[in-house]
Symmetry: C2
């Protein structure tokens, strides 16, 4: 499983320019018609004033929320994307790997009202980063995870956890590498949250306004009892 | 919405004989290949000794569990099905509507290790019955809800709550009435549990061994903080 993880990291380096253009030109239909608004509405619903954007990419969420007075700290494992985020402004952006975050969760601050992972949990082992998210949440805070909806991501049976590959075919030219990403079932998402000491209390399923198909799964969780060390 | 509720109740009266035969002859493929075992395994995993079977139908779950020493109390809104359950044995069976259960949850006992709703939450308004389930659970107890998986039940877009109709076409002759049932999205299931003071802590998604498609959603919840009266 080491190979897809390495290719995942490498893909963001290779595609940083094309990805940034795709986001900023609104080329990703699902984001344009449903999922950008879904995550913004979820943040607004929390009334969050300080937010950590995990896997911030080129920084669009921070730019949107900055206009509403939210203080955003973002980090990403891709230096290429962080540079672009920083140039566009809207928050404080840091180059930090998920492993680095997991090792010392509060290095970018803690007591956040909200921690957001917006289509940014793409690895197979997400336990450490989820526990780090929990560690930097305020007691009243919430973790928001937006991800591929099992109805879509699992549409090729068998419906089970595993690596998939995104080829960015719908986004035009400029992408130099496919991106491996780890699909997990609903059952696994719920287990991952629980094992990280996070309590799921809501999910949202934004629909395509044209097809009526869910375009994402948005999980809202809050800190539960401390799970201790590694889950058993 | 009153009409489908009435037709739902009437369908179980009309189909009691055909349904009983279908269950006892193993005609329902999804049950045979996956979902019967899923609910049995979930009960076994809890180590439950006293169990309330909500919407017990013709009583197969009680008969299975009785062989393992579990004491089962079952009830169903269909007198026709309860009579058949009683004749076959395996538990104590009662004719009781869901409204009657909601009105006085402990009339059949309380402090259950497990309360099971196995494909038996078919109405639109399930809040009262869920709150009643919570009320009769022991503090360590768990509610098990097995239901249609959103991937399947929502396969006709738009993916949204609403009445569907089961025609029993795959089960042979003898069915005299279609059955209206209320489909709810994953988001709605999670909200319903929370509003009833139940805390989702696990879900299972048993797959078809041949197609790899999930044949049900099995939710495991435990009593959370008292939700008070009606949810806001």
């Amino acid at each position: 499983m080491d190979d897809p993880e390495r290719r995942l990291v490498a893909s963001w380096r290779a595609n940083a320019r094309a990805w940034t253009r795709s986001v900023r030109e609104g080329r990703i239909e699902s984001r344009r018609v449903a999922t950008d608004r879904a995550i913004l509405d979820a943040v607004r619903g929390l009334g969050a004033r300080r937010l950590l954007d995990v896997g911030c990419g080129e920084g669009w969420l921070a730019r949107e929320l900055a206009q509403e007075g939210v203080t955003v700290v973002g980090f990403d494992g891709s230096r290429e994307l962080v540079v672009r985020a920083d140039q566009a402004g809207g928050g404080r952006f840091h180059h930090l790997t998920y492993a680095g975050f997991a090792e010392n969760p509060s290095r970018l601050g803690d007591g956040f009202d909200a921690v957001v992972c917006n289509f940014s949990l793409l690895s197979e082992d997400i336990g450490p980063v989820l526990r780090a998210c929990r560690a930097v949440l305020a007691p009243h805070g919430a973790l928001l995870v937006q991800t591929v909806h099992p109805v879509l991501g699992g549409s090729e049976p068998p419906y089970q956890d595993g690596w998939r590959e995104e080829r960015f075919d719908a986004l035009g030219e400029g992408f130099r590498s496919a991106m491996p990403w780890f699909f997990r079932t609903l059952a696994t998402w719920i287990r991952e949250l629980r094992e990280a000491g996070l309590q799921l209390h809501e999910c949202r399923e934004p629909l395509s306004p044209t097809t009526g198909v869910p375009l994402s799964l948005l999980l809202v969780a809050s800190p539960g009892p401390d799970p201790g060390g590694e889950p058993c």
